[in-house]
Point group: C2
């Protein structure tokens, strides 16, 4: 059996997005990352720039678990009483569920493991790496200015962690949330992608 | 390149020991688990029963990091001023270092990832599984009485966690301590072992 859906959580600078993309290519799967934002924008009428700015920048409040519980799954309801980030999450959750129905795919970020938690065909993966390696990748590959790069990497991780805690209600990067976690520095991105493919084939 | 040493940490009842043994067989590696206790006993003159009772049952105190820092690496020094559990850890640390020098092997438990942290040929793996599955394995395979089994499994995990925190000075089962973590329930023990072998071949 093969994992029909592969969700990938990743520390900033770990190469997780690239690894997911390579794994999708190897498997002949769809691949979804930033494209989700555009899909959400088109469906909601939200301005793309606004969504990009809002994305993954939430602060904790009493409105949690609202989006992923399926309540809004069959409507494109936008609630003016909710923070824009909550509305965005609701839209993204709906789109992620639609994509998972549509066909085999790799989905990076967006709490996809949590949103799709009731499915039995999801392989949930988390990619991490030592901080120094992630800073080096962020500077060398993502073009982050070297000065202050370490702080930026750590801040981005903190934003992701808070986002996950807020919407998924549990700890980002904790082993119990994932079927497989990999240190990308120990293998390199290509080998890590190959391992995910191998793991997907043994899943279930 | 292949990982010359594979260390395996594991939640109680996850099948980690069996997975490690299968991986060692597939790779033609040595396999070390309880045998370490006997080796330690023989070298130290400690009574085996005493060691079995002491093993992994430490409580935090001011004497931490003493064993694994190499201070005692070249002596079989037994310090009467130390708790027996600390002396045992010192002995096990020495034996683990000797085994790692001797030849390719899989070592289960015993903070081996921490003890061998300065080597560059170690693949560090952690095996986990949902609590219900671990309780079922503990009852069905290890012969634990069904009544109170869940509590026993949780208590054993707590003991391992405290032991790791005390000697390795960091959080047991945290992704940053391992190159690979696997949920054994998602794959089954045989496939998990095969994945470790595949991962070992891509390591470094």
């Amino acid at each position: 059996m093969t994992a029909r859906i592969i969700t990938i959580g990743r520390e900033y600078g770990s190469g997780g997005r690239s690894i997911g993309e390579q794994a999708a290519k190897m498997l002949g799967y769809g691949f979804y990352d930033k494209v989700l934002i555009d899909l959400a924008a088109k469906k909601s009428g939200f301005a793309i720039d606004y969504i990009r700015n809002t994305e993954e920048q939430v602060t904790p409040n009493y409105l949690f678990n609202l989006a992923a519980n399926g309540y809004y799954a069959n409507s494109m309801f936008i609630n003016d009483g909710l923070p824009a980030s909550d509305n965005l999450f609701i839209l993204q959750s709906k789109i992620i569920r639609e994509l998972a129905e549509k066909g085999p795919c790799v989905i990076v970020g967006r709490c996809a493991d949590y949103i799709l938690r009731d499915r039995t065909d999801c392989l949930n993966v988390f990619i991490h790496a030592p901080l120094a390696d992630r800073v080096a990748r962020a500077v060398g590959e993502y073009g982050l200015p070297a000065e202050g790069a370490e702080k930026t990497v750590q801040r981005n991780d903190k934003i992701r962690s808070k986002h996950y805690q807020y919407y998924a209600g549990s700890k980002w990067g904790h082993i119990h949330r994932y079927h497989l976690t990999l240190n990308s520095s120990a293998f390199g991105c290509e080998a890590a992608a190959a391992l995910i493919v191998e793991t997907a084939r043994k899943f279930g």
